[in-house]
């Protein structure tokens, strides 16, 4: 553990990752104080300052109705991080439970649960989320639901594979011999061995959830105006390319900064927690 | 002095640098192999015997965390003063190696014939496929492989472990190297298959006059094979001498422990030895050359 921390804190890449993610979290948490124009997060119209390139007053320029892009990005981080937190609080436990049960119990349970997982996995993730959004109203809550629905099977697959391997290990057999309950073996004996892989995946996934969520709203199927969202900001901005480039470039860059930060940490974490 | 030395190691030290500091693995080893001599280096896992062979091979020097010091002379040339490229030029031509698990050591995506061709190219860059095949067949027959053509057309995973072991012996000797390093050869195989392949290897090196450094954890395995034995314990040589002399009158407490742990002549299992005993750290014991059958011993 000490060694893991040592490696994480001396690796320049993971330090950059921590800095990026830290900044994003800070901005999201204290948006009201950090954002230069907090009121621009809403449906403000400010035509006098519309369509302005980056300046000292509006560091990243303004959009077509004159709102400060920097302020909107900072508030959009709130939505993005909230999305990541909610999806990763719900999807992994579902997937882990299914993977553990299918992997440990085996037999018909295994067959049914894993075929169900396969079905979910054979629809390209974004397409599944799109289809679910297709029948639901495009709101933040529904977007969270859609992304969660496409996310759990990956955890089921991951935990299933580990469980199948651990099931035949000596410590599991020993627990069976002394008559431990199935529940105890699954959650107390096997689950701890899946934790490193799950934690690594969750860190990497935080970035990818932000990515998928922004893709949904880019297609107009996520958060609706006037709530600021990185994907819809890019989508709106593309209409004014190339002259008003700042409207697309900065929100796009904001996505990269956040996702890249999580990926840097996740990558370093994988090197530490899962050597090979 | 006696016969010329193929390999001479003096005060060999190896340490690894890591985040928690430096760990010394070899604490100054002296070892020599005379021309045509078969020498065994015996010790338990972690004693430093395998890294010694990697240093002679010259690959350990390329590991960035490794610090190697001491003199290593191969055929009168100083390995430590050579460049990486010069050391590599020796490998596959003048120094060759046999590995523990033949099946996983042979590249699984090429046929045995292609691997032979590749190895022969180390000697003669422009050797034709046909010529390479002719020579491979000849050598495979020497290790008692009757259907050499079928073997050459196979992948390693299609052959048995014993067959792969013979293939590896033939491959290691096809360029007639001066020195053969054998790292636990055949330990992954059945005891009888292992004994068989060691017999074949012995005949081959006899005919070619190859010097051999045989690395093993099992004194029983080297008894038939080696002229001389070095016993290594925790990075130090603790006893050395002619094979018969070591077996007849072991002096060092650790050697005695090793010997008492041999269940059968060619027993396969790892000997059960006490984890550590203060006596194991006793100073080096050297047997003098009293046995007249030891023709090439250096006997310092």
């Amino acid at each position: 553990m000490k060694r893991a921390l040592y490696i994480l804190l001396t690796n320049p890449l993971s330090i950059i990752g921590f800095l990026l993610v830290g900044t994003v979290f800070f901005c999201a948490a204290f948006a009201d104080f950090v954002a230069p124009h907090p009121e621009h997060a809403g449906a403000v119209i400010n035509f006098a300052f519309a369509n302005k390139p980056p300046s000292s007053e509006y560091l990243l320029g303004t959009d077509v109705v004159g709102r400060d892009i920097l302020s909107r990005i900072i508030y959009a981080y709130r939505i993005a991080l909230g999305m990541g937190l909610v999806v990763l609080l719900i999807a992994p436990p579902i997937g882990v439970a299914i993977g553990l049960i299918a992997g440990y119990i085996g037999g018909r349970t295994d067959f049914i649960l894993m075929r169900l997982t396969d079905i979910f996995l054979s629809i390209p993730p974004l397409v599944l989320a799109l289809a679910i959004m297709g029948v639901l109203e495009p709101t933040l809550l529904n977007a969270m639901f859609a992304v969660t629905a496409m996310w759990w099977p990956w955890y089921a697959r991951l935990v299933y594979n580990i469980t199948r391997g651990e099931k035949v290990e000596g410590y599991v057999l020993a627990a069976e011999v002394i008559g431990a309950s199935k529940k105890h073996i699954m959650f107390r004996e096997i689950l701890p061995n899946c934790i490193p892989a799950i934690v690594t995946k969750m860190t990497l996934d935080f970035g990818f959830v932000i990515l998928i969520a922004s893709s949904l709203s880019f297609l107009g199927l996520g958060v609706q105006a006037p709530t600021p969202d990185l994907g819809s900001m890019v989508s709106e901005g593309t209409r004014y390319l190339p002259d008003s480039w700042w409207m697309t470039v900065f929100p796009g860059l904001a996505i990269v900064v956040a996702v890249f930060g999580f990926n840097l940490i996740g990558d370093a974490l994988r090197d530490v927690l899962e050597p090979d | 002095m006696s016969a010329p030395l193929t390999l001479e190691i003096q005060d060999l030290r190896l340490s690894f640098k890591s985040w928690s500091g430096t760990t010394e693995v070899l604490h100054g080893i002296d070892l020599s192999v005379a021309s045509g001599e078969r020498v065994a280096l015996v010790g338990e896992s972690g004693s430093g015997k395998s890294v010694t062979s990697r240093i002679v091979l010259g690959t350990m020097q390329d590991v960035r965390s490794a610090r190697v010091s001491g003199r290593i002379n191969f055929d009168g040339r100083d390995l430590s003063s050579m460049t990486v490229a010069e050391r590599r030029a020796l490998r596959g031509r003048d120094i060759s190696m046999i590995f523990q698990d033949p099946t996983s050591a042979l590249n699984p995506v090429f046929r045995i014939g292609a691997l032979f061709h590749e190895v022969l190219q180390r000697r003669d860059r422009r050797i034709t496929k046909a010529e390479a095949r002719r020579r491979a067949v000849k050598l495979l027959q020497e290790v008692s492989i009757e259907d050499a053509d079928r073997v050459l057309d196979s992948y390693s995973f299609q052959l048995s472990g014993g067959m792969n072991q013979r293939v590896m012996i033939a491959m290691a000797l096809i360029n007639e190297p001066r020195l053969l390093l054998a790292d636990e050869p055949g330990t992954a195989l059945d005891v009888t298959v292992q004994a068989q392949s060691l017999e074949l290897m012995r005949n081959m090196v006899d005919r070619l006059g190859t010097s051999v450094l045989f690395i093993s954890h099992n004194l029983g395995v080297v008894r038939e094979f080696a002229d001389r034995i070095y016993v290594i314990y925790r990075g130090n040589i603790v006893e050395r001498g002619p094979t018969a002399s070591i077996f007849d009158s072991p002096k060092h407490p650790y050697t005695k422990a090793l010997l008492s742990a041999i269940p059968r002549l060619t027993g396969g299992g790892v000997p059960e030895i006490e984890e550590h005993s203060p006596a194991f750290s006793d100073p080096l014991v050297t047997h003098n050359m009293t046995h007249d059958n030891m023709t090439h011993g250096s006997g310092r």
Binding site: R115, D118, L126, S215, L221, T248 | -
Partner: protein, 340 residues
């Protein structure tokens, strides 16, 4: 024999999975809150009109019966009428799928052609600067959604440096008769080399935007697999024979790790198919996405089900093809027919 049995087995399981997909997507489409017929027809439709549509869509039957009827029609190649385009869904899909496939296939090719060598280079120079450079690049490419890459590439290579066209599949001045829907094939079939060049010119930027994340993913994967292979005894044996580092990398590390890498890259095809939606929007590419997003916004149930099914089927077929290719490369599978 074995390869064909394997192929058959894969086809069989894929078919079962595809039926599962149809059930899943069908039930998603029917649990829609509110009346699908009412949503499709809009608030101004009369109750009779809505009832008529409910009949036509079999919405008054139990869900199981609805599904049975749907499968019966599907077996006849009928996915129903799109409420969005008022045409058979099959006709719509046949029109838009080739453009998307052309884009995705070229992107897949780029992913393999650039991703594998990058990963191999990275593993070969592990811990040294080419490795660091490639790792950061790969991580960066997977850290941005495809639409951000599309915007970035358009800005740089179409607006600031006008090297590539911004939208469309071929120059407006060219009129190529539609044969397969694949522009590269149709132009060649029409004997129009200028058309082929123009189509390729239009295809490169969107395909690259789509491929970028995949290139990074493939590079990361190949690096990982090769590093595992580098631990194998066969590498040590190659070193013991004094083969050059380049030779070891190519023949002893890269080739054996190609098999697991390609298998997983087949799975990444899913991401390409999904991301094609995003890239097509930026480049106004007349593929499935415009149709797909349109039908989703219109709550056009038949079309949604059809689109998802066709994309999943494409994905499964792509994986069967990859699996087939891998078993041809892999001597272990290829040779497992006769003897031992």
């Amino acid at each position: 024999m074995t390869i064909f049995r394997r192929l058959l087995l894969r086809l069989g399981t894929s078919l079962i999975v595809l039926i599962g997909v149809s059930m899943l997507i069908f039930s998603i489409a029917r649990v829609i809150p509110g009346d699908p017929a009412r949503i499709a027809l809009g608030p101004r439709a009369t109750i009779e009109q809505v009832e008529q549509m409910r009949e036509a869509l079999h919405l008054n039957e139990p869900l199981v019966v609805q599904y049975g009827l749907f499968m019966r029609d599907l077996a006849k190649g009928d996915l129903g009428i799109s409420l969005y385009s008022k045409r058979p869904v099959m006709t719509d899909l046949a029109e838009y799928l080739p453009a998307t496939l052309e884009l995705v296939l070229l992107a897949g090719l780029m992913m393999v052609v650039f991703g594998l060598p990058l990963g191999a280079l990275s593993a070969r120079y592990r811990g040294r600067w080419p490795d660091h450079l490639i790792r950061v690049f790969s991580l960066l490419t997977v850290s941005a959604p495809a639409f951000v890459w599309a915007v970035a590439l358009v800005l740089v290579f179409a607006y600031f440096l006008p090297l590539f066209p911004i939208t469309g599949r071929i120059a407006d001045t060219l009129d190529i008769p539609r044969l397969t829907g694949f522009m590269l094939i149709d132009t060649l079939a029409a004997g129009r080399l200028d058309g082929f060049v123009s189509a390729l010119h239009h295809l490169i930027l969107p395909a690259f935007a789509l491929a970028l994340s995949g290139i990074g993913q493939a590079s990361r994967l190949t690096r990982g697999n090769m590093i595992v292979t580098y631990e194998q005894p066969s590498i040590e044996m190659a070193q013991a024979y004094g083969f050059s580092e380049a030779r070891i990398a190519r023949r002893y590390a890269f080739k054996p790790s190609l098999i697991p890498s390609l298998t997983i890259i087949g799975l990444d095809f899913a991401a390409l198919l999904g991301n094609a939606f995003l890239v097509e929007i930026i480049f106004a590419w007349p593929g499935l996405s415009r149709y797909g997003v349109g039908v989703i916004l219109q709550k056009d149930l038949n079309a949604i089900v059809g689109t998802v099914l066709i994309i999943s089927a494409t994905f499964l077929i792509a994986n069967i093809i990859v699996d087939f290719l891998v078993s041809v490369i892999n001597p272990r599978i290829r040779l497992s027919e006769g003897g031992k």
